[in-house]
């Protein structure tokens, strides 16, 4: 079943508006092949019905699923580097002191996509925390497909090439055919859950660190404010929030202040007592 010219033009305009990606005519096959699984997952009869829904009122979930399917979604391990070095050099040493009684850390990776971020965090914590400490990572994403993939923990060779140090690859993964599978130990340290940040949150408990990176970019200003407000409710008073390098709370939620941690930036609530050696900008 081929995409009609008007449906293709609609999708091309949609993805240009939403993700600044230009789809030249002739990419009908690409659009068809990328959208077919989205339609299937949404219980629709085909891509034509999906485009019909998109033309009506798709809602944020379908909108994002379509955007994700049409954008090359290459996530790196230890993405952007700096938040992870800040974690091992400054934040975790601080938490070792401030959580010395509980000896337990809770981290939320919100918008975890195919799982590179929560697994990177798990690798880092396993290597860093002294004996007797435990941790819990909750990883959520709006896409059921992504949660399935992340939970399976199976990555292609191209995916494990992206920013994952070779020593960690051979230590924490095992080769299976053309893929690499995360170790059972690593898989057990992350709990995956499908979750829509644009709706009220289920009870998640309180977190020491929340990673909400490159997620806000998908939302309009009001939704951004709502999402940040919800996240506030899950942070411990001295907890830290990490956003993508091009994102900020400034002008959206004045309850947060920006703090420099090494060469990275994080956000904490204004009334907070510093958790680690983080200093004001």
């Amino acid at each position: 079943m081929q995409l009609s010219a008007s449906d293709f033009a609609f999708i091309a305009a949609f993805i240009k508006r939403e993700a600044a990606i230009v789809l030249a005519p002739g990419k009908e096959y690409l659009v068809q092949s990328r959208l077919a699984p989205v339609a299937r997952e949404g219980g629709m009869r085909g891509v034509n019905e999906l485009v019909y829904q998109l033309r009506q009122d798709p809602g944020p979930e379908l909108r994002q699923a379509v955007i994700d399917s049409l954008t090359t979604n290459e996530t790196s391990w230890f993405r952007d580097g700096e938040p992870f070095s800040a974690l091992s050099q400054t934040i975790l040493p601080g938490l070792l002191a401030s959580r010395s009684v509980a000896k337990h850390l809770r981290i939320w990776s919100a918008g975890c996509a195919s799982g590179q971020e929560p697994y990177s965090l798990a690798i880092l914590l396993r290597d860093f925390l002294p004996a007797g400490w435990t941790f819990e990572i909750i990883a959520t994403d709006i896409s059921a497909e992504m949660i399935r993939k992340a939970e399976a923990g199976l990555f292609t060779q191209v995916e494990v090439n992206r920013g994952l140090p070779a020593a960690m690859l051979v230590h924490h993964f095992e080769r299976v055919g053309a893929h690499w599978s995360v170790s059972e130990e690593l898989r057990r340290s992350v709990t995956f859950q499908r979750l829509n940040l644009a709706a009220p949150l289920p009870p998640l408990g309180l977190f020491d660190l929340v990673f909400l990176r490159n997620v806000l970019i998908y939302f309009d200003v009001e939704t951004k404010a709502e999402v940040l407000h919800r996240v506030t409710g899950t942070l411990r008073p001295d907890g830290l929030l990490f956003l993508g390098s091009a994102e900020t709370t400034i002008g959206i939620d004045e309850g947060f202040e920006r703090v420099a941690v090494g060469r990275a930036a994080a956000y904490r609530m204004r009334t907070a007592v510093p958790a680690g050696a983080a200093g004001r900008v």
Binding site: D80, G81, G163, V170, R175, R263
Partner: protein, 128 residues
């Protein structure tokens, strides 16, 4: 900054040259491990980085890495294997022989830059 690209495929040497050249490296090439050792021995300036294929005639990449690690003159040279050899045991062998990082072919330009960034060889922000 100087890099040596060691691969028996001219096409692979060309793209590796282009990628590290963009980072400001002055790039020299060799077709196999033996030719690379000859080049290193004849030049006064030791490269900061070597990108090394595994399967090459005359001297393979693992032998090259082992030889370079045994020679104090090259102790500051960062060694990155770039190869289709992707069995877990092969990666372990290369790291044990002294390779600092390992890039499996096929790789994207972004993947290569990220690996070099892990080694502190990329100016901050260049991988974004």
């Amino acid at each position: 900054m100087r890099a040596i690209v060691i691969d028996d495929s001219r096409a692979m040497r060309l793209i590796l040259r282009r990628i590290v050249g963009q980072l400001g490296f002055d790039v020299i090439e060799a077709e196999d491990g033996k030719a690379a050792l000859d080049t290193l021995n004849s030049e006064s300036e030791v490269p900061n980085l070597a990108l090394v294929d595994w399967n090459m005639p005359n001297m393979n990449g693992l032998e090259f890495v082992t030889a370079v690690r045994a020679d104090g003159r090259f102790k500051d040279m960062t060694l990155v294997m770039v190869t289709t050899e992707s069995e877990q045991s092969q990666i372990v062998r290369a790291l044990a022989a002294g390779a600092h990082e390992y890039v499996i072919k096929p790789f994207t330009q972004g993947a290569m830059l990220e690996k070099l960034a892990l080694l502190g060889l990329v100016p901050s922000g260049a991988t974004a």
